[in-house]
């Protein structure tokens, strides 16, 4: 059962499935990453981003950045061994800088808010080289900033995510989004969170260790993979728990207690 070069996260996300047979394990699926103030889950996005570029010669990523400017991601990914600038020049990486996006409050029709963002995604996909269209990943970093940009209208955000979900699942693209779970934990608006979690095919929860911060273990991950076994028509849920340690050029994943 030893998969060479695959770590626990790859296995949990389903990257271990027969590589030549299936195109891209995340095709048509929605990966939701949830984190909290103490432990950031951004590294999961970086992981998926790197994997999508390195595992396939023809794949494309459309990145909606609400949290950081491009030079942040560029530096982080470069240390992981993936050059975003050259991928952008190759037409495989579309960076949509949403850092300053602010939807108009009232008065104006809502059309120039998130609808334009969605149009941008559609346009980016249509501009892709047909060869690269097979394995497209849409990444949203992160949903809570998207909510702020939409002036707190969670219905608009949910509509937007539904549109993205439909777009990706119909065409066999992957959708990856980051959200902060502790914002919703006080029970003010749990419906928003539940609805996104319901949509998600793979849920990655990143938490700090219950025992506090540690230098060797940066936190724990729970990957909930709602695998649908199409031949039997039943869906099963696979849950995996493990710990991780983030390094500049690599992220180590290991089971609890296996690191001395």
């Amino acid at each position: 059962m030893e998969h060479q070069g695959l770590n626990l996260m790859d296995q949990a996300l389903g990257f271990h499935s027969n590589v030549t047979q299936q195109p891209w394990p995340l095709c048509g699926r929605f990966v939701l990453v949830e984190d909290c103030v103490d432990t950031s889950g951004a590294f999961v996005l970086h992981h998926i981003l790197k994997h999508s570029f390195t595992s396939r010669p023809s794949s494309a990523v459309i990145f909606l950045a609400f949290a950081h400017p491009i030079n942040h991601y560029d530096r982080v990914l470069r240390k992981l061994g993936c050059n975003l600038s050259s991928q952008r020049d190759n037409g495989r990486f579309f960076f949509l800088d949403m850092l300053m996006l602010q939807c108009p409050v009232e008065g104006k029709p809502k059309h120039d808010g998130l609808a334009t963002v969605f149009e941008k995604i559609e346009r980016a996909i249509s501009e892709l080289h047909p060869e690269n269209k097979k394995f497209v990943t849409v990444v949203i970093d992160d949903i809570s900033c998207l909510e702020v940009a939409a002036n707190g209208s969670s219905n608009d955000v949910l509509d937007f995510l539904h549109y993205c979900y439909t777009l990706t699942s119909e065409n066999g693209y992957a959708l990856v989004a980051l959200n902060h779970q502790d914002i919703y934990s006080d029970g003010e608006r749990p419906a928003f969170m539940l609805e996104i979690e319901y949509l998600a095919d793979i849920l990655v929860k990143v938490d700090p260790l219950a025992t506090g911060l540690a230098k060797d273990v940066h936190g724990q991950v729970m990957v909930l993979n709602k695998e649908t076994q199409k031949q039997q028509g039943i869906s099963s849920i696979k849950v995996q728990n493990f710990h991780f340690k983030i390094k500049e050029n690599n992220i180590e994943y290991f089971y609890a207690g296996t690191r001395t």
Partner: protein
């Protein structure tokens, strides 16, 4: 061998000349970031060098004590001493009056911080271990011109007027403005001076916003408006050579709004007052009498990297040394078993007798 040596030396020479050509208030950090000093040398050390340019620092206030003002005053004063332009916004009627309370560099407090080095030969109890680390750290920072970078600011000595009468200080009162658009425009105008371009950084700026979303402000019930202001401020700051420090009272916000602000912060600190006569706590912590409050470091900025900064300790005591200098120290928890701990402590400090006297903590 000789050639490599010359190469090495010429390389290091280049680096040092690069550093010296820089502004004294700036320091190179990891991952292509640049630090400015927070005005408190201990906080600089805790954060690994200071506040990164382009980052948003948020300080969660204690509703009952003004400890966040101590941090803010040092931050602002250090900037003015480095001739870095400052934008200060506060909910008071006359924000400019606050500049009169800024601290000024005082005579050095080094005599106390270097004192413990002679104890090296002794066997020191675990709780005094922190004194060992410190002298080495001091040497490190001295290499980079410690006193140029961060001054020891004396909180009882007001800053000389000529530092802030010049036109590089901009003060805004946010008390009577119906919304944050005006402040946003001022910030955008200020940030435009420092927009980042390729090459060396010539100057840096500082923005200090005190008691953001306090109830005096008319917009304090418009949470989404405030969140989008902070978000756009962060977005603008990211592309400019400016550090933004915002203090806010989390207890006055809804929990979800406060969490959102915490997520947006690159560096997140919180201050807490400690009650005067808390017998339980006094028993637990050494040096309780000198403490004025506690500082919590929740998050340290990680621009351009995915690796989190894990600190040895996240809670520090805030002390006023000689009632003038702000220092942060690791908490020293007294051992739970009182008698055993006291003999340890005594042998470490005075090394006179192993017989324990009465506890002093």
């Amino acid at each position: 061998m000789a050639t490599t040596r010359t190469r090495v030396s010429s390389f290091s020479h280049n680096v040092s000349s690069l550093k010296s050509s820089q502004h004294p208030g700036l320091k190179n950090g990891p991952n292509g970031t640049t630090f400015v000093s927070s005005g408190i040398s201990d906080l600089d050390k805790i954060l690994g060098g200071g506040f990164s340019l382009g980052s948003l620092v948020m300080i969660m206030e204690d509703a009952e004590a003004p400890h966040h003002m101590l941090l803010l005053r040092n931050f602002m004063s250090q900037g003015l001493l480095h001739r870095q332009p400052l934008l200060y916004a506060s909910p008071s009627k006359d924000p400019r009056a606050f500049l009169g309370t800024l601290p000024s560099p005082g005579s050095s407090k080094d005599d106390t911080s270097h004192k413990p080095s002679h104890e090296k030969d002794l066997r020191i109890a675990w709780q005094y271990k922190k004194y060992f680390g410190e002298p080495q750290l001091n040497i490190n920072t001295n290499n980079g011109g410690h006193h140029d970078y961060c001054n020891d600011l004396d909180l009882r000595k007001p800053l000389e007027r000529h530092f802030f009468t010049s036109n590089n200080v901009d003060c805004v009162s946010i008390q009577n403005s119906p919304n944050l658009d005006a402040l946003k425009d001022r910030c955008a105008e200020f940030l435009a001076q420092f927009s980042r371009n390729e090459g060396s950084i010539s100057s840096a700026g500082r923005i200090a916003i005190q008691s953001f979303c306090s109830p005096q402000c008319k917009y304090s019930d418009m949470e989404w408006h405030m969140l989008s202001f902070i978000r756009s401020l962060k977005g603008m700051a990211r592309s400019s050579n400016v550090v933004v420090v915002v203090t806010f009272p989390p207890s006055l916000l809804s929990p979800s709004c406060s969490k959102r602000l915490q997520h947006m912060a690159d560096t997140l600190l919180s201050v807490r007052a400690i009650p005067d006569e808390d017998k339980e706590l006094a028993k637990l912590l050494t040096g309780y009498q000198d403490m004025v409050g506690l500082l919590n470091v929740h998050k340290v900025a990680r621009l351009n990297t995915q690796v989190p900064v894990i600190l040895d300790a996240t809670t520090f005591s805030i002390k006023l040394q000689k009632r003038r200098f702000l220092v942060f120290e690791c908490l020293n928890q007294a051992p739970v078993d009182g008698s055993g701990g006291s003999s340890y402590g005594n042998s470490g400090v005075c090394s006179t007798s192993t017989k324990a006297g009465p506890l002093d903590f």
